[in-house]
């Protein structure tokens, strides 16, 4: 008789065989030491499995609390709740991003219009052998240029190469998801811009928008391309500083005054910069002499640099990268004995202090015209505050100019 199968042995031990079969198995096991060994092993497995399964009985009652179990909420309710949360979060993200996307779209359109300017300055851009390439590259760089905008100080600054590198990094991280949408959206605003220009310019502008999409989809290539490109943009900036600052100011979202709470010794204005996002501008009336203000302005420049450096967490490479920019801007402006007062009213005043507390960013500067200490704070990034500051200063300057004209 051939050896018994393991299944048969288990069947026999479980008493599942007919009397005849059982007798045959028994006889074989008595004569066959191999099968006898398997039988012994099988007994061990049966006892062992039984013991292991008994351990499962220790699974205590109330792995899920009894009370919660009895009043268990219909899973449908959970599903609905989860859906609502997802939708709410999604909507929030979309709304939040929407502002940025609009910004991006504007910026892409702007970059298209800037390209027309490029034509006249082309010889100074060494990295662009042909206009066609420049355009294409500008299109690819558009998202990252935009991003750099939202992070940087609005002052027209000649940027260094490391800065371009960091911009590229940001482009990798942040813009990838948005850029595709941006590219799609920007098609609309870009078209009118292109129409105004010559025929080839329109074609090029469109092409640049098209190239923006694949560049964004593959963040690596996009960012890599944007680095040399950035140099082009910088070259433009240094040639046309005023235009650049205008662009920066124009692309801000509109500032809406939503409240002016009464405060002693200071004028407080609440601006809504985005739906639900407000910043507070606190203008502390100063009775100090103009000369003192001048000194404050000049002396504050290096101080501002320090505080920015100190307060920048090392992880936030972008903010750290901003630091030399702030410094450069300040040093440029600080040149000359005239100091702050010699500045044109439209030029942005240097930030003297940046504070971060509980997520609230505050930038402090001295208003050139009035000598008042201005504090702008909000639950937003410093770079964004800087942009808002620029916008506020622009508005103030416009108001002041209007007041002068009609005394």
């Amino acid at each position: 008789m051939q050896h018994l199968s393991e299944g048969t042995i288990h069947s026999w031990l479980d008493g599942a065989l007919t009397a005849d079969e059982a007798a045959r198995v028994e006889a074989h096991v008595k004569e066959c030491p191999e099968c006898a060994a398997i039988v012994a092993e099988a007994r061990g497995f049966i006892a062992g499995a039984s013991r292991i399964l008994t351990a499962l009985d220790n699974a205590p009652r109330g792995v899920i609390p009894v009370v919660a179990r009895k009043k268990r909420i219909d899973p449908m309710v959970w599903r609905v709740a989860a859906t609502l949360v997802v939708i709410a979060t999604g909507t929030l993200v979309v709304f939040r991003n929407d502002g940025r996307k609009t910004e991006l779209a504007t910026r892409v359109a702007d970059s298209a219009s800037e390209i027309r300017v490029t034509d006249s300055i082309r010889p100074i851009a060494p990295a662009s052998p042909s206009i066609d390439q420049t355009m294409k590259a500008a299109g690819e760089a558009a998202p990252s240029v935009t991003n750099e905008q939202s992070f940087s100080v609005p002052a027209p600054v000649a940027m260094s190469t490391p800065r371009a590198g960091s911009t590229a990094k940001i482009a990798e991280k942040g813009i990838t998801a948005d850029a595709e949408v941006t590219a799609q959206r920007s098609a609309a605003p870009a078209a009118p811009t292109a129409q105004g220009s010559t025929e080839p310019a329109a074609a090029i502008a469109q092409r640049s928008i098209v190239t923006a999409a694949p560049a964004a989809r593959t963040a690596y290539s996009g960012s890599a391309l944007s680095a040399p490109l950035q140099a082009n943009a910088q070259a433009l900036d240094s040639k046309e500083p005023n235009k650049r600052s205008d662009v920066v100011a124009e692309e801000q979202l509109s500032l809406r005054v939503v409240g002016t709470p009464r405060t002693l010794g200071a004028k407080v204005t609440l601006y809504e910069v985005a739906p639900g996002d407000t910043v507070t501008l606190r203008e502390e009336s100063s009775t100090r002499l103009e000369s003192v203000v001048t000194v404050t302005g000049a002396a504050a420049a290096p101080l501002g640099r320090q505080s920015v450096e100190k307060s920048a967490p090392p992880a936030q490479a972008q903010r750290a990268a901003d630091t030399p920019v702030v410094g450069a801007a300040d040093s440029q402006r600080s040149v000359g004995a005239a100091g702050a007062l010699a500045r044109t009213p439209s030029a942005p005043a240097p930030v003297t202090r940046v504070e971060f507390a509980n997520g609230v960013t505050t930038i402090v500067w001295v208003d050139a015209a009035s000598g008042n200490v201005m504090k702008l704070s909000g639950l937003i990034r410093e770079a964004r505050l800087q942009q808002i500051k620029a916008r506020i200063e622009q508005e103030r300057a416009a108001t002041a100019a209007a007041a002068k004209k009609s005394p």
Binding site: D14, A16, F45, A49, I52, D57
Partner: protein
């Protein structure tokens, strides 16, 4: 005593234990068991009631079918009585909890059919009943069970060994 009540009193303990081992949660197991008896209220032709009950319970777990709250209420009362008669599990110590966790892991590692066959066998179902509940041929139950037992014991022992090694490493 109605027929369902008789079924309940005869098989509830085994069914709950089977389901507890299967699901790892006694309350859930009781709910499924009750639902199984609710199904028995429906006019059906049942040849082997134990095999039928285990098959229904197994399918309920699989389908996660929703329960009939109204009918369950009456059975919940019966379960309350039953629970008083049952021996409560011993107090959980760390060692016991570890054992239970390893057992759970080892059982979960089994193929579904092997696991169910083994759990049913542990509740005393004979080969024909297991075959009927799981829609197997009676001849293959022995093979299924031998495989399930061997794998369960082997994977449990492997888990034990790695646990011991971890403790040794932690000690050194």
């Amino acid at each position: 005593m109605t027929d369902v009540e008789r079924l309940f009193r005869t098989y509830n303990a085994a069914l709950v234990r089977y389901l507890t081992r299967r699901l790892g949660d006694r309350d859930w197991a009781e709910e499924v068991a009750q639902e199984t008896f609710v199904r028995a209220l429906r006019p059906t032709s049942i040849q082997n009631e134990r095999a039928w009950l285990f098959a229904v319970a197994t399918n309920l777990v699989r389908d996660e079918a929703r329960k009939d709250m109204r009918r369950r209420k009456h059975l919940a009362l019966l379960a309350e009585e039953e629970r008083d008669a049952m021996v409560e599990p011993e107090e959980t110590t760390l060692e016991r909890a570890q054992e239970a966790a390893m057992a759970r892991k080892a059982v979960d590692a089994l193929a579904e059919r092997d696991r169910l066959a083994l759990l049913m066998r542990e509740e005393g179902l004979d080969y024909n009943e297991i075959a009927e509940a799981l829609e197997l041929s009676p001849g293959s139950v022995g093979t299924t069970l031998s495989r399930a037992r061997r794998r369960l014991v082997e994977s449990y022992e492997a888990l034990q060994k790695s646990q011991e090694e971890r403790e040794k490493n932690a000690a050194s």
